[in-house]
Amino acid sequence: MNNNKEQVVITVLGANKPGILAGITRTIADSNVNVEDVSQKIMQDLFALMMMTDFSSANCSFEDFQSRMQAMGDQLQVKVFIQHEDVFRYQHRL
């Protein structure tokens, strides 16, 4: 793995409606965060999106990025979680 990468998992959960993916990815692109992998599902009527991103080239701090994404999440009425990938790695991988 590229050691210079700073991998951050973005998770979006909420009621399904048009424009969620567009709004979320626009904010990510505006922050110059690189999306490396995407997984999306509609579970019953719940929109669930997970993205693996590389934060190392971002044009803002981690905290600012969280605030920007939070604001977009509020606008779209979905929950957005921005977490360093290690928390998932530690829990789910040996």
Binding site: V9, T11, L13, D37, S39, K41, A48, M50, M52, F62, E63, Q66, F81, I82, Q83, H84, E85, D86, V87, F88, R89, Y90, Q91, H92
Partner: protein, 453 residues
């Protein structure tokens, strides 16, 4: 993709729905370098050192909370038992040290600081006596300082003079904080086999064998275990144990991550993870709820000790593999007022102090946050402490008493200590007196360590 959507959602919902958090990141600080025969000068040095060493504790925890999306509920500090410093004091008081610790905690934004204690399992030094005599004053003139005294061990037996003196101190501390329902006693623990690396307040202190400074982590997670059990039905004991082990593994791994990162950021060595399930008064964050989900009508009914033994063991088995260094108390805590389910079991008549004592034989840590009638005699309190210490001494485990004889209250009354300390019913204690026994003086000799029946 490195992780499945299901795995990510599992982690997120553990925090959002099931009240998973890191209960505490605790910084242990050696304060022996602060020694001085003048207690006030010593207090100045203690304040300066604690503030200097732990300055980054709260900011570091905040950064990690954001980075990983896992709440770190408490940031705490423990110090070397203050009695060791008190040996040098010309004036026979250690209260200024407690005040210095309290001020340091306030400066750093720490809710509790511990280590205002002594180890007297075999006898008292002058410093131990100064410290113990100062406890009621220290706890009543500070907000955040916690105290613990170790009165017994499997190696040394039980110092019954220490037991009796601590019973007097418990009673005095309760009376002195009468206007707050004896709150001072909620910050005072009497131990047998106290551990040197416990990150949990109120019984935390930095042992003499520890490094200059250390970070220890306490996980929590009763809510996560409860949620897993709610989703699983008709499991055999083996399957149930497996399920609990898996949950424990995951929550401990998160603690490991937080501990390693905090240690790296602060430049302080990572000590241990304490594998304890620690309940809070929040609905659902209860050990009692887990026991009842395992199939008990109410916690305290026959079968409770077995259920708790199994839970405690499974938590350790799962957690040990996840932690580089496990330590501290490591077991399920069964405090009363801090666990709404335990309080309900008492109100329903299913749980009494005798059954609670039996439960402490198989888990950590003892009769914890147990409110008893305000008119309970020193002799009876000494008897309760001695019984609990005997369980620890014989079984090579840590046991403790955090008893609050609530002034003016009787069995069945409800006392509210507020916040994490919770509220609950005052428990009935035995009516007959152990006075002649507990006043004999001297020590209960160390037990034989073979012939274990």
């Amino acid at each position: 993709m490195l992780f499945s959507l299901e795995e990510v959602i599992e982690t997120i919902s553990a925090v959002g729905v099931e009240t998973f958090d890191i209960r505490t990141v605790s910084c242990g600080i050696n304060i022996l370098s602060c020694t001085d025969s003048d207690v006030n000068k010593c207090a100045e040095k203690v304040y300066e050192k604690v503030v200097r060493v732990a300055r980054d504790l709260v900011p570091t925890a905040r950064i990690l909370e954001k980075k990983y999306g896992i709440p770190i509920v408490n940031k705490r500090i423990s110090v070397t038992p203050v009695s060791m410093l008190a040996n040098a004091f010309t004036e026979p008081t250690a209260v200024p040290i407690a005040v210095a610790l309290d001020n340091a905690a306030k400066e750093l934004g720490i809710d509790y600081i511990a280590g205002f204690g002594a180890l007297v399992q075999k006898g008292f030094t002058r410093g131990d006596q100064i410290l113990i005599n100062s406890i009621p004053d220290a706890l009543c003139s500070t907000d955040r300082v916690c105290s613990s005294v170790n009165i017994g061990s499997s190696q040394s037996g039980i110092n019954m003079d220490g037991v009796y003196r601590m019973a007097e101190i418990v009673k005095e501390a309760a009376e002195r904080s009468r206007d707050k329902n004896g709150l001072a006693c909620a910050k005072l623990v009497v131990f047998c086999n106290a551990v040197e690396d416990n990150p949990f307040i109120a019984g935390s202190f930095l042992g003499a064998g520890e490094a200059e400074a250390i970070l220890n982590v306490g996980i929590s997670g009763p809510g996560v275990v409860r949620a897993a059990l709610e989703r699983a039905h008709n499991l055999s004991f083996g399957e149930l144990s497996e399920l609990i082990k898996k949950v424990s593994f995951k929550i401990t791994r998160t603690g490991e991550l937080i501990g390693r990162e905090a240690s790296r950021m602060m430049g302080i060595p990572f000590g241990i993870i304490d594998l304890s399930l620690a309940p809070t008064p929040a609905e659902g964050d209860s050990i009692s709820d887990i026991l009842e989900l395992m199939g008990l009508e109410r916690t305290g009914c026959h079968g409770t000790t077995a259920a708790l033994a199994m839970l405690n063991d499974a938590v350790k088995k799962g957690g040990i593999m996840a932690a580089t260094y496990a330590g501290g108390l490591s077991g399920a805590f069964i405090p009363v007022t801090e666990d709404a389910g335990m309080c309900r079991a008492i109100v329903d008549g299913a749980l009494n102090i005798q059954k609670l004592e039996a439960m402490t034989c198989v888990c950590s840590v003892g009769l914890d946050m147990v409110a008893i009638p305000g008119d309970t005699s020193v002799d009876v309190i000494a008897g309760i402490i001695a019984d609990e210490a005997a369980i620890g001494m014989i079984n090579h485990k840590t046991t403790a008493c955090r008893l609050i004889p609530v002034p003016g209250m009787k069995a069945g009354d409800v006392v509210d200590f507020g916040g994490l300390l919770g509220k609950g019913p005052v428990m009935e204690v035995g009516r007959h007196s152990p006075a002649v026994f507990v006043r004999r003086g001297g020590r209960i000799p160390a037990p034989v360590h073979s012939m274990k029946n």
